[in-house]
């Protein structure tokens, strides 16, 4: 497994570079929005990657609760941290896109608001992990992940209905996509997914190593200095 990683990482870097080239040069400029629209090639793939990572976190948390496997917990940490980073990118690129195009920074758009709530939930997840004692952290965090997952559909519906009562501008890409745009979009989607996987994998490896070191240290220490 370890040997594949550098190759995979190198391929991902290449994909990202190619995607950048596609997004910035090859894809045509959008008619109404102008060059700002190119954020779309980063905004949506980031969101997709973030959701995939959060979903991974959910599965890892459930597996941990059932099997108490520490590897599952390590994956949960890794996917949560990297997911929050990608989620932050979504929340930052959204307003950057909205401001020049629609003149407003924020709107209670369904997808964006759901992403915001997801971000809040996972930041609270990371704070919980940081603030709890080591022995209980995995269980508490796993339970919170499940609560978060149950919450997200409810958030989506509540905002969706709210919007039908109070119409707001849509932060989507209205109209059909030029095939070159679609191509650039798909390349970036793939590139970002791989990028997310690479960073998460790396973080997971780091977490496993850190735990192994801790375990070795713990078993060797003679008089046990906590902290």
């Amino acid at each position: 497994m370890k040997k594949i990683f550098p190759i995979f990482a190198a391929l991902t870097a290449l994909l990202l570079a190619y995607g950048f080239y596609q997004a910035m040069w090859v894809a045509p400029t959008e008619r109404t929005m102008g060059d700002v629209q190119r954020i779309f090639y980063y905004h949506v793939p980031s969101a997709w990657t973030a959701f995939c990572l959060f979903f991974t976190n959910l599965i890892a948390s459930i597996v941990y609760l059932i099997r108490k496997n520490p590897k599952a917990d390590a994956l949960a940490v890794a996917s949560a941290e990297v997911g929050v980073v990608f989620c932050t990118i979504v929340l930052v690129t959204g307003p950057i896109w909205a401001r020049p195009v629609w003149g407003i920074w924020w709107t209670w758009d369904v997808r964006l608001t759901t992403t915001l709530v997801l971000w809040l939930i996972y930041v609270s997840y990371l704070v919980l992990r940081r603030f709890s004692d080591t022995a209980q952290t995995p269980v508490l965090a796993a339970v919170l992940a499940i609560f978060g997952a149950l919450d997200v559909p409810l958030v989506y519906f509540s905002i969706w209905f709210f919007r039908t009562q109070h119409p707001q501008p849509v932060m989507g890409n209205g109209g059909s996509l030029d095939p070159r745009m679609l191509h650039a979009f798909l390349i970036n989607l793939l590139a970002f997914s791989c990028f997310g996987a690479v960073v998460c994998w790396w973080r997971y490896g780091l977490e496993r190593e850190q735990r192994e070191v801790e375990e070795l240290e713990a078993l060797e220490s003679l008089h046990g200095v906590s902290r």
């Binding site: 099997r67 108490k68 004692d133 080591t134 022995a135 801790e214 375990e215 240290e217 713990a218 078993l219 220490s221 003679l222 008089h223 046990g224 200095v225 906590s226 902290r227």
Partner: protein, 257 residues
């Protein structure tokens, strides 16, 4: 690593051996249990408990016979409290297994009575009110049992003073009463005599000795082992998360440390 009671783990591996050797599908024949006396023991097997960078227990393995009085001794940080909590099911092992009378500690909750240095009682209620409530957790709904237990620790069931206003000795005795409420087979007591006056301590030792004589198993973690010389069956010495020796008398190890 999901803790599994020791006897079943052994049976599983032996069962696999039998299965692989036979070609035909036969009903599984489980081998006989390990202990020749056939009494379920209290077994701790390769117990490791890690808190971050600190290992409180580093591979503790021991077998304890029911019906005996064990005293667990050692320096601060030796792992005594952690071992006791692992036996009670309050500390989940990082690795290794605990088996109380053939069951996992959480399955054996009716057989375990636990007492710790915090009193585990509500300061705002009287002793009787406290016991009445905890009795309900065990399905005991008559007051008679509560009164009986309070009297057995030499306290007055009629006392209406809230437990928070008790002296330390009284509080420890009431806490012991709570542990004895459901007549458990195994008593796990963590520092029951700390800050307790000598008279109360002696009375508690007498009570525990009677329990052992009545067939209960008693585990006491304490720094005041001299009190228990004569009552205890075995002294278990711990250091740095491991059991270093087990002796029938305290005096013989006084030269150690």
């Amino acid at each position: 690593m999901y803790p599994v009671a020791y006897p079943t783990a052994l049976c599983k591996s032996q069962t696999k051996c039998i299965q692989s050797q036979s070609r035909l599908r036969q009903p599984l024949k489980l081998p006989a249990p390990v202990s020749d006396a056939n009494i379920p023991q209290i077994i701790v097997s390769n117990l490791i408990k890690q808190f971050g960078r600190f290992a409180a227990l580093r591979g503790v393995s021991a077998e304890f016979t029911p019906g005996k009085f064990y005293v667990i001794l050692g320096d601060n940080g030796a792992g005594k409290t952690t071992l006791l909590r692992a036996l009670a099911g309050l500390a989940h092992p990082t690795r290794g297994t605990v088996s109380i009378l053939g069951k996992r500690p959480q399955q054996a909750c009716r057989e375990i009575g636990y007492m710790a240095h915090p009193s585990l009682l509500y300061d705002e209620m009287s002793g009787m009110e406290n016991l009445r409530y905890f009795a309900q957790l065990y399905g005991i709904s008559n007051d008679r049992r509560c009164e009986e237990v309070i009297r057995s620790v030499r306290l007055d069931p009629e006392l209406t003073r809230p437990v928070g206003q008790y002296s330390q000795g009284m509080r420890q005795r009431m806490s012991l009463a709570r542990a004895l409420l459901h007549d458990p087979e195994v008593l796990l007591l963590d520092e029951p005599f700390s800050n307790v006056d000598v008279q109360s301590a002696r009375e508690m030792v007498g009570l525990l000795k009677n329990m052992r004589d009545g067939g209960k198993t008693v585990f006491v973690v304490t720094h005041q082992a001299l009190l228990l010389e004569g009552a205890a069956d075995e002294f278990v010495w711990m250091q740095s998360g491991q059991i270093v020796s087990r002796t029938p008398h305290f005096a013989s190890e006084a030269g150690m440390q």
